[in-house]
């Protein structure tokens, strides 16, 4: 199946008021936010999209319908109670039957936390996320380095930029065989790396990766919890994810 992206058109969608100064013109991009049973950060993800000036489109796990969105955000949570293995059941959801080929055809997809786990289970990204080295769930504000600013979701950052994002997970230890790790490193697919202490024992301090084309990005930290001064982590460093993807569509 070939994924046909709905052409972005500024005239079609009325401009929305942005919460971030300077992004008033970005109303066109429509970012789908997926809700599985047990998804938790969907409203946070939708809010982050709205605050950056985009339109958040709710996508329901049981619908075989991507509603023509420009990009998709798979948020964190405990989809299907993390039963069997994190993300193992979600990958078979009806919506995923649409999403997987669309992503392979170039649709930008971001998975955070459980979303990252789902992307790995769906084989849209290589490797797997296993139980944290310390065997405990960990919630903390984590320094992260952006290693690749050329993906669909990181264009608004500079390569090498250090940012602060919260992590909150029990199974975020990224593992893969040596060949895969080597290929990820060589191909610039390690997009984020933990700094100042690895929270979960991930190989090579990997916090997030992308596919070769750079349209699919998965990471354990939560940019959607670092977009407002008032709430969440003591940083607004997560805004770049949302402005990156919105600018991409405005500039097309």
């Amino acid at each position: 199946m070939v994924y046909r992206r709905r052409p972005p058109s500024l005239s079609e969608t009325p401009a929305r008021r942005s919460h971030v100064e300077g992004y008033e013109t970005m109303g066109a991009a429509r970012v789908g936010v997926v809700t599985f049973p047990g998804t938790l950060d969907d409203q946070d993800a939708a809010r982050a999209v709205r605050h950056a000036g985009g339109e958040a489109v709710p996508l329901w796990h049981a619908d075989r319908d991507l509603k023509g969105v420009d990009a998709v955000f798979l948020p964190g949570g405990f989809s299907y109670g993390d039963y069997l293995r994190c993300g193992a059941i979600s990958r078979f959801a009806p919506l995923m039957e649409e999403l997987i080929p669309a992503a392979r055809a170039g649709l930008p997809v971001l998975g955070t936390c459980n979303g990252f786990q789902i992307l790995c289970e769906a084989h849209l990204l290589p490797g797997a996320l296993t139980r944290n080295e310390g065997l405990h769930y960990i919630c903390r504000d984590q320094r992260v380095r952006v290693e690749n600013a050329a993906t669909a979701w990181t264009g608004d950052y500079a390569s090498g930029q250090e940012i602060l994002l919260p992590v909150k997970h029990g199974e975020g230890r990224y593992v893969a065989d040596a060949a895969t790790i080597g290929a990820l490193e060589a191909g610039g697919q390690v997009v984020f790396r933990y700094l100042g202490g690895n929270p979960n024992g991930s190989m090579n301090d990997i916090a997030g990766i992308s596919n070769e084309a750079g349209n699919i990005v998965g990471l354990m930290p939560h940019p959607e919890h670092a977009v407002e001064d008032l709430t969440g982590a003591p940083s607004v460093d997560g805004r770049g994810f949302f402005t990156s993807i919105l600018k991409k569509f405005v500039n097309l």
Binding site: P37, G38, Q43, G77, Y80, C139, L230
Partner: protein, 751 residues
């Protein structure tokens, strides 16, 4: 053989195991008098659980009435005690509902599941008011940090609280953690939940309207927490297989998350007439309470209850405490829409009966009537005891053992570091980092701040129109309450009230979890009576009503009770959440101001506990009018933007408050002590005090405000640098403070 009503009439003299079910002979006789015959075994199951201490409050009721009779006038109170949770008006058409509840005994037996289902239960209480649960907190007490059993219990409890709350998507925004040898065989796990709803959408546990359908939805019923029922089953049915069932419930947070979203859609679609969660006493409690508060009658076919274990007997179904279940009353017109919403969320739902106007709760099993009772007799007319009480034999001697006799330290720097690394004052990050504090994106302040603060806007549709926020804190000090339960309860309230005000929020309402030993011990009963009297009096003075809570008795090992431990939760409101005051010293160059007076008060203090293992004398004096004036200053100062950072001064005194304020952002401080004696200034636990960090240009305005409200204010110095320096006394780099503060818990639990 089914023990039907017919059979009960035919076998009036059959012996029944009421004593094994915890009923007294006179209570059993009362059931017989109510029914005019012996109860069936199912009826006995219902009465035994509904008249248990846990459900009926039979020992505490006569005292708890003071929360009503002494309640201050409050325009904010929308729903008071007696419902699943109290509801308060927080303005702009919004209401908050909150409650704290204990799960102490299950958490000792099976720490993970005991704590997890404690969270699950309180969350369902909040849902049953029609609210969206928006945050949880937990107040925990364990035995000594270095005791072997603490290493068994604490990690399991923390994992249970964390895994359930995290998986549910509710931020954990605060709470307490304390250690004392008195809790070694009896940890305290008190869980608080807060929810938000539109003021006009409050749901109540009531079943009006004959013909309306009774729906059981959520998880299927299994053999959880039916230790008591197995006595009945084995006694009646001589079936060994039913005698060995787990007494601790097992939770499934994933089902609870689906239930939350499902209930919110049901409320939004307005297809619910009445709703009740299934907690202790399961179907027995939900059916009797719904029927008693509604039209008065209900008929239920117990055979329709979906079972996880098809061998369950009716008595077991009635007593099962299987988690993640709710009961709703729905009109026949709305039942299809109700079922469709449940199906969308994959939540099983089954009509098990209907509302009647007979005044009787009638249940059938395989076409035989096994229950036929007036529901109010089980739900509301349980026994009430006026338990005898008297002051404990050693109380006078305890109070006479004044800490003034204790040797005071010469090296205050060492004293500070020892206290800062002691179990009760050390960093709790090992615990709190296992809780998600960010989920749902509305967390403004969380641990280690004095209170958790949430934004209301964006919580759910329509909320964008308010700038308000809520603040919540829980506090309790078993040592203070042991020395003086009347004052101890007031001190718990005063601290929670102050912790809410420290963020700039106006304290509005109170919930409480009263953890005590056996009510059959007159000395424990005295502690309980004094604590309730103290709390009710203080609520009246501070103008904050009690909206609900929970009593946990029998917290003792053998004949040794825990310290009386009233835990008090206070909810406050910020008119504009953006005006909240941040925690600690937020930047260099700010003036450090101490509000409130310091006296020589060391009874029950952390210093006496840590340095001397001493508990004696009297706790710090309660100054409710001073607390009220102090809160007035804090709220007004925050509203006018005069304060940059703040921190409550309490356990460990000014020394610990200064250290924690420095560690909050790694900003040092240089201060001069206001009084004559450095030790008293630094370590006394006098109440009604807070530390503020104020921009120099705002200082005069703040001083004027304090003068006007008659709150003593002392400018101690300035923030900045990389050390905490108390002029002429001590200087400690913030990094050294942090190292000592953060090492304690990991040393025990990460090894």
């Amino acid at each position: 053989m089914i023990d039907s009503v017919k059979r009960a009439n035919e076998t009036p003299d059959e012996p029944q195991p009421y004593a094994e079910l915890g009923m007294k002979a006179e209570e059993y006789e009362r059931v017989r008098a109510i029914l005019g015959r012996r109860p069936t075994s199912s009826e006995l199951a219902i009465y035994s659980v509904m008249w248990s201490e846990h459900c009926s409050y039979k020992s505490s009721k006569v005292h708890l009435r003071q929360f009503g009779t002494k309640a201050p006038e409050s325009e904010a109170l929308l729903v008071g005690m007696g419902e699943n949770a109290g509801v308060v008006d927080i303005g702009d058409g919004w209401a908050a509902t909150f409650k704290i509840e204990s799960h102490n005994h299950p958490s000792y037996v099976e720490p993970h599941q005991g704590a997890a289902t404690g969270v699950g239960g309180i969350v369902r209480d909040i849902m049953s008011m029609g609210a969206r649960p928006v945050a949880v907190m937990d107040a925990l007490r364990f035995g000594a940090l270095d005791a072997p059993d603490t290493r068994r219990v604490l990690p399991g409890v923390v994992e249970g609280v964390g895994s359930y709350g995290n998986c549910l998507g509710l931020p954990n925004i605060g709470g307490e953690l304390a250690f004392d040898p008195c809790y070694i065989g009896n940890p305290l796990v008190n869980a608080l939940c807060v929810g938000l709803l539109r003021k006009d959408q409050i749901k109540l546990a009531t079943a009006p309207g004959p013909g309306n359908q009774v729906v059981l939805f959520g998880a299927r019923t299994g053999p959880d927490g039916i230790g008591g029922a197995s006595v009945l089953a084995s006694a009646t049915f001589e079936d060994e297989s039913h005698a060995k069932r787990p007494a601790v419930q097992v939770g499934d947070p994933f089902m609870e998350k689906l239930l939350i979203e499902c209930c919110l859609e049901l409320f939004e679609a307005d297809v619910v007439v009445g709703i009740q969660d299934l907690g202790a006493a399961g179907v027995s409690c939900a059916t009797t309470e719904l029927a008693a508060k509604g039209t008065g009658g209900m008929s239920v076919d117990l055979g329709l209850v979906p079972l996880r274990d098809p061998s369950l007997l009716p008595e077991e179904i009635l007593m099962s405490e299987s988690q993640e279940r709710m009961m709703a009353v729905v009109t026949p017109e709305d039942i299809d829409a109700f079922m469709a919403i449940c199906a969308r969320w994959d939540v099983p739902a089954t009509v098990i009966g209907e509302v009647t106007d007979t005044g009787r709760l009638v249940m059938t099993w395989k076409d035989e009537v096994i229950v036929d009772i007036p529901p109010g007799t089980a739900a509301d007319d349980g026994p009430v005891y006026e338990r005898p009480f008297h002051e404990p034999a050693g109380q006078a001697a305890l109070n006479a053992d004044d800490p003034a006799r204790l040797e005071r330290p010469g090296d205050l720097r060492a004293a500070l570091l020892t206290l800062l690394g002691s179990s009760n004052l050390a960093s709790k990050e090992w615990v709190t980092s296992q809780y998600d504090r960010y989920v749902r994106g509305n967390t403004v302040l969380a641990m280690p701040a004095d209170a958790g603060v949430l934004r209301i806007g964006e919580v759910m549709p329509g909320a964008e129109e308010t700038d308000r926020g809520i603040a919540l804190a829980t506090d309790g000090n078993g040592r203070y309450a042991k020395l003086d339960p009347y004052a101890g309860a007031q001190l718990a309230l005063a601290e929670a009230y102050r912790n809410v005000a420290v963020t700039g929020a106006r304290p509005l309402a109170v919930t409480n979890c009263l953890n005590f030993g056996s009510p059959e011990d007159p000395e424990v009963m005295w502690q309980f009576a004094e604590a309730v009297r103290g709390l009710a009096d203080a609520c009246k003075t501070l103008g904050v009503p009690v909206t609900g809570g929970n009593v946990s008795f029998y917290n003792q090992t053998g004949s040794t009770p825990i310290h009386p431990t009233p835990v008090v939760g206070v909810l406050g409101v910020l008119d504009d959440v953006r005006a909240r005051v941040r925690h600690g010293f937020t930047a260099p160059g700010l003036k450090i101001v101490l509000l409130g007076d310091t006296r020589d008060e060391f009874g029950g203090s952390e210093w006496a506990h840590v340095a001397h293992g001493h508990l004696g004398g009297l706790p710090p004096a309660v100054h409710l009018e001073a607390e009220r004036a102090l809160a007035g200053v804090l709220v007004e100062a925050a509203g006018r933007g005069l304060v940059d950072g703040s921190h409550d001064v309490s356990d460990g005194g000014l020394a610990i408050a200064l250290a924690e304020a420095c560690m909050a952002r790694g900003v040092g401080a240089a201060v001069q002590l206001p009084g004559g004696d450095a030790f008293t200034d630094l370590f006394s636990e006098s109440t009604a005090r807070v530390l503020l960090a104020v921009r120099p240009e705002s200082y005069d305005e703040l001083a004027d405000l304090c003068a006007r409200r008659e709150v003593p204010a002392y400018c101690l110095g300035t923030t900045g640098g990389s050390a905490l320096t108390v002029e002429g006394v001590l200087s400690i780099p913030v990094e050294e403070l942090r190292a000592v503060h953060e090492a304690t818990l990991p040393a025990v639990f990460s090894s």
